[in-house]
């Protein structure tokens, strides 16, 4: 059996899933100030009177790193950045411990200006004086030549707890994002490490010695031990938990919109044949744009508790939330109140809801039920408009070859899956408006924790080869090897698959069911002076996000079981 634990803003959901489906589930309040206690309490509760030997592992999705970043509660990390020609790196300053140095590398990996060791030593001394313990080192085009970052890291290593060279954090091109990703990684490192070591130790004290995995923003997992150096990847894992929990319930060949309709927001994602769509670059959190791989998600300020506004005869919903629905003692009418008036939701004070909706009815010259119906209809239409907007944005994504443009896949949704508190009431109307089949995710109230439990390990490698200069490299893997001028992209792919397998093994993937996938394979003839002198090859491979082997026996049981 597997434990899945997802820490949410207000509640933490824990499930125990196995061959018999959902064995047990628990919901406990999240104490943001004492996250450790919350997690531990969740794990204790779910393992009560269970034979620990029957549990294979636990997967945790926490808001630990996300909250710390958003609330700015991290010990400051230092940054040493070398830009060279181009945009002034001052524009990407992270904090006062951000130093720009000389030394530069061009797009082909050629050294333009060497590193100045004295300059680096002086910066290190300053950072040390300032009490900095963790430092990120990022150079422009370090993914094409890692030498400068490596050299700088060597020089300063003796003076700090940890040094993070940018090329190991991401192999993608995007200097500003690599700076911010490396900075966040260095910033959350101590917190993440301390937290999970404490969780592990506490569990061991209680005799629970199971492997622990953490959920990432791309809907994949990673063994805790492997996550220590890359804690940045655990940022914003929340949205991916529910998407992964819905995945098994989407048709096998379909383009599915997943909608998580909450109190304050509705979060959307897209599945193509049960594989979640990834964001083109990486997550954005506060003022940080990163290269942290993430599911493509789209969030709007519209949920059951959103404010209803009347603009003349026009109803609009959200984006603000003033509190719960009036039925639950809230201050302003909400879509949930409309559902109360219509008698579709019970368990609150319908009278209060009616009191809130009545002025809207009066203004529109409708009776109470008609007004509630209008509010509900408007809510559904706004959600569908946002979904259409999301799909348009996805399809507007530029492509760079003729083939891609002409045969370019356009996402055309074929069905919708909804989950979240009021989701069930929305099914019919969303279907009417969209003309698509709409269904709820079975056991939707714990789908996030189920998704956390059932997600499999994911990872990615990037390779770059220049056969004219005679090398192939994979910056994140610290891999580099000479190649002959006639080296082919087929050979590069073989090396890539090998590196990906090694990486997958390291992060605790199930090696017998690895689904590897080519994200990018480009090969260019390099011509100098009207003569072909080599090849320029770029390859990206991934273990794609998905569910673990045998998930079907579990999710079939969940689908067959009673709703929670």
């Amino acid at each position: 059996m597997i434990i899945g634990l997802d820490v949410g803003g207000t509640h933490t959901d824990v499930v125990l899933v196995g061959e018999n489906g959902l064995k047990r589930h628990a919901k406990i309040p999240t104490d943001t100030a004492a996250l450790f206690e919350t997690v531990l309490a969740g794990l204790e509760k779910i393992t009560e009177n269970i034979n620990i030997g029957d549990i294979s592992h636990a997967v945790l999705s926490t808001t630990l790193t996300t909250n710390a970043i958003v609330q700015n509660k991290l010990p400051p990390a230092g940054m040493i950045v070398s830009g060279g020609p181009g945009v002034n790196p001052e524009a990407f300053r992270t904090n006062q411990y951000y130093y720009i140095t000389s030394g530069s590398i061009d797009h082909s990996g050629r050294e333009i200006q060497p590193v100045d060791p004295d300059e680096i030593a002086a910066i290190a001394a300053k950072l040390k004086d300032q009490g900095i313990r963790n430092v990120g080192v990022v150079g422009k085009f370090s993914t094409r030549n890692t030498a400068h970052e490596t050299r700088i890291a060597e020089i300063i290593a003796p003076h700090f707890d940890n040094v993070f060279p940018g090329h190991k954090i991401s192999g993608h091109l995007n200097f500003p994002r690599r700076i911010h990703t490396t900075f966040l990684n260095a910033s959350v490192y101590p917190l993440h490490k301390t937290f999970f070591e404490a969780v592990k130790t506490s569990l061991e004290h209680k005799g629970i010695t199971i492997p622990i995995y953490v959920l990432k923003a791309d809907g994949g997992t990673m063994a805790f031990a492997a996550s220590i150096d890359f804690p940045g990847q655990t940022v914003l894992s929340g949205p991916s938990a529910s998407v992964m929990g819905s995945l098994a319930f989407a048709p096998e060949k379909a383009e599915t919109i997943v909608m998580d309709i909450g109190g304050t927001t509705t979060d959307m994602a897209v599945l193509i044949d049960r594989v979640p769509l990834l964001a083109p670059q990486g997550i954005e959190l506060g003022r940080y744009k990163t290269l942290i791989r993430a599911l493509h998600s789209y969030s709007i300020g519209l949920g059951g508790d959103s404010v209803i506004r009347l603009d003349g005869k026009e109803i609009t919903i959200g984006p603000e939330r003033n509190g719960p629905a009036m039925a639950y003692g809230g201050p302003t009418p909400t879509p949930t109140d409309a559902l109360f008036v219509l008698g579709r939701v019970t368990g609150g004070d319908r009278e209060k809801s009616a009191k809130g909706i009545q002025p809207i009815a009066d203004a529109l010259g409708l009776n109470l039920e008609q007004a509630a119906e209008a509010v509900f209809d408007r809510t559904c239409r706004q959600i569908m408009a946002a979904a259409r907007h999301m799909i348009e944005e996805i399809n507007r994504k530029p492509v760079y070859t003729i083939k891609e443009l002409l045969k370019g896949h356009q996402v055309k949704p074929t069905n919708i899956l909804v989950l979240g508190g009021p989701a069930g009431h929305f099914v019919e109307r969303l279907a009417d408006i969209s003309g698509l089949p709409v269904a709820t995710v079975p056991a939707w109230s714990v789908a996030n924790a189920v998704g956390t439990a059932l997600s499999r390990a994911t990872c990615e490698v990037s390779l770059f080869a220049d056969t004219q200069k005679g090398f192939i490299m994979a910056p994140e893997e610290s891999f580099s090897q000479p190649v002959k001028v006639n080296f082919t992209s087929q050979e590069a792919l073989q090396i890539g698959y090998q590196l990906l397998r090694q990486k997958a093994h390291k992060i605790g993937a199930d090696m017998d069911s690895l689904e590897m996938d080519v994200l990018e394979e480009l090969e260019f003839n390099m011509v100098r002076g009207f003569r072909m002198t080599g090849k320029n090859i770029r390859i990206k491979l991934q273990v794609k996000p998905g569910l673990i082997r045998n998930y079907k026996t579990i999710t079939d049981k969940i689908a067959a079981g009673a709703a929670i």
């Binding site: 507007r396 530029p398 480009l522 260019f524 072909m532």
Partner: protein, 439 residues
């Protein structure tokens, strides 16, 4: 955080699967390193810089400008439709006020493509700028347009298309035609009698540097623009003036290109040539994008840049100043020159032979223009190409007067279908394009 002072749209279409041939300068690799630079600098993340997906131009967009023999599909590839479509995408975004400026980083280029197209000339088949401009006129009612061609080669295709159009100011600055393909673009090429002076050429001596280029922009181009008062300024942004370009002989730089862009302030720029793909293009394109967006570009510097070494000789400065004077003089006397060209003629004729260097084709043209004081004038072109095709093409200009319009129809209808493989009518007054084939 970086923020663009001007909302800038980019279309990036490197056509990673299109080349003229494996080792041709116009090959897949050309914008690869530019893409690397643009991605690594994170330009698309900057607030106010938006990347748009190039759309496909359609056949009608092309027919507004060109006569393609035998047809569009035979002289154009998919990437040409995308390249021209990319320019249209930005034009739309500009008109819909989603952006304030736009730069189409597309290939293949287009400024050597003339009105009549039998094949590829100077790496170009379809004139991206002209397709974009006529789309703007047709869809948004734009009237006066200035096209400033800063490619190192004379923009002879664009010149040909707008030779008789008094509403399009075409200025090309380029390496002297006596020293570089296509061998044209001299100061006395001023447009036809109905549009004298709205075509201007500024040939520059080899080894012209930043000083010379910026002098021409400031002292010649800007004053003329000031007077012409265009609704839109388009820049044919070729990048082969760079000191490392392998097929030209100029001394321009990335800083210089950025300065030029800042001073010229084009509404829309379209990439043309530029073949120093590693040492120049990544930096020039970066400089141009930053300059368009109004972001500091002072740190943009290509390897090997040495202002002192690149400085132009006093002799070059003198030649450029003289050329500038001539051009300004021609511009100021354009009405007299036009009247002189018209004389008492009812028609103006032109015979030319045109070489399609890439495809090795040879075409001869006999052009007849109705001399007219009210409009650009009805135009007919009899064309014979050694590909074996003979065509008769009639162009009725966008703002044609009644007489020119009627004459255009008469020409089209009375052309003998036994003498030509194709007879085309390009009627810009109502956006219709028809043809008759050999009987």
């Amino acid at each position: 955080m970086l923020e663009a002072a001007y909302k800038t749209g980019l279309v990036f279409f490197p056509a990673f699967d299109w080349a003229i041939s494996d080792t041709h300068p116009e090959r897949e690799e050309r914008l690869l390193y530019t893409q690397d630079q643009v991605f690594e600098e994170g330009l698309f993340d900057i607030d106010g810089i938006t990347e748009f997906k190039a759309e496909l131009a359609d056949v009608r967009d092309v027919r507004r400008v060109h006569f393609c023999v035998p047809d569009e599909e035979r002289v154009m590839t998919e990437s040409h439709f995308i390249s021209a479509g990319g320019a249209i995408t930005l034009a739309k975004a500009l008109m819909e006020k989603r952006i304030e400026r736009g730069f189409a980083l597309v290939r293949p280029p287009g400024h050597h493509a003339m009105r009549m197209v039998h094949g590829n000339r100077g790496f170009c088949n379809v004139n991206n700028e002209a397709v974009m401009v006529e789309f703007l006129r047709q869809t948004y009612g734009i009237d006066r347009v200035a096209i400033i061609d800063t490619d190192c080669h004379h923009g002879d295709g664009t010149q040909d298309i707008y030779w008789h159009d008094p509403d399009t100011l075409f200025i090309s600055m380029h390496q002297d035609g006596r020293t570089l393909y296509p061998g044209s673009g001299f100061t006395d090429e001023l447009g036809g009698p109905n549009a004298a002076g709205t075509t201007l050429n500024i040939p520059l001596p080899p080894h012209t540097s930043e000083e010379g280029f910026l002098f021409v922009i400031r002292e010649v181009v800007l004053p003329i623009l000031e007077e012409f008062k265009p609704d839109l300024i388009i820049n044919s942004a070729g990048q082969d003036n760079h000191f490392t370009d392998p097929i030209t002989n100029m001394h321009f730089s990335a800083q210089g290109y950025a300065d030029l862009t800042r001073i010229l302030k084009p509404d829309l720029a379209v990439l043309e040539g530029g073949y120093s793909i590693e040492g120049a293009l990544p930096y020039i394109n970066l400089g141009i994008i930053l300059a368009m967006a109004g972001i500091d570009y002072s740190h943009v510097r290509e390897p090997g840049y040495d202002l002192e070494k690149l400085r132009q000789s006093p002799q070059i400065t003198k030649i450029i100043e003289e050329t500038g004077k001539t051009v300004l003089q021609n511009w100021r006397q354009r009405e007299i020159i036009g009247r002189h060209m018209k004389g008492f003629n009812k028609f103006a004729e032109r015979r030319r032979s045109i070489f399609y260097d890439t495809d090795g084709l040879h075409e001869t043209q006999a052009e007849t223009l109705r001399v007219c004081d009210e409009c650009g004038g009805a135009l007919k072109i009899a064309s014979r190409c050694d590909s074996g095709f003979q065509a008769m093409a009639v162009h009725i200009p966008r703002k044609a007067c009644k007489s020119c319009k009627e004459l255009g129809f008469t020409w089209y209808e009375s052309a003998d279908a036994r003498s030509y493989d194709f007879i085309f009518l390009q009627n810009r007054t109502d956006d219709t394009y028809v043809e008759r084939k050999r009987r």
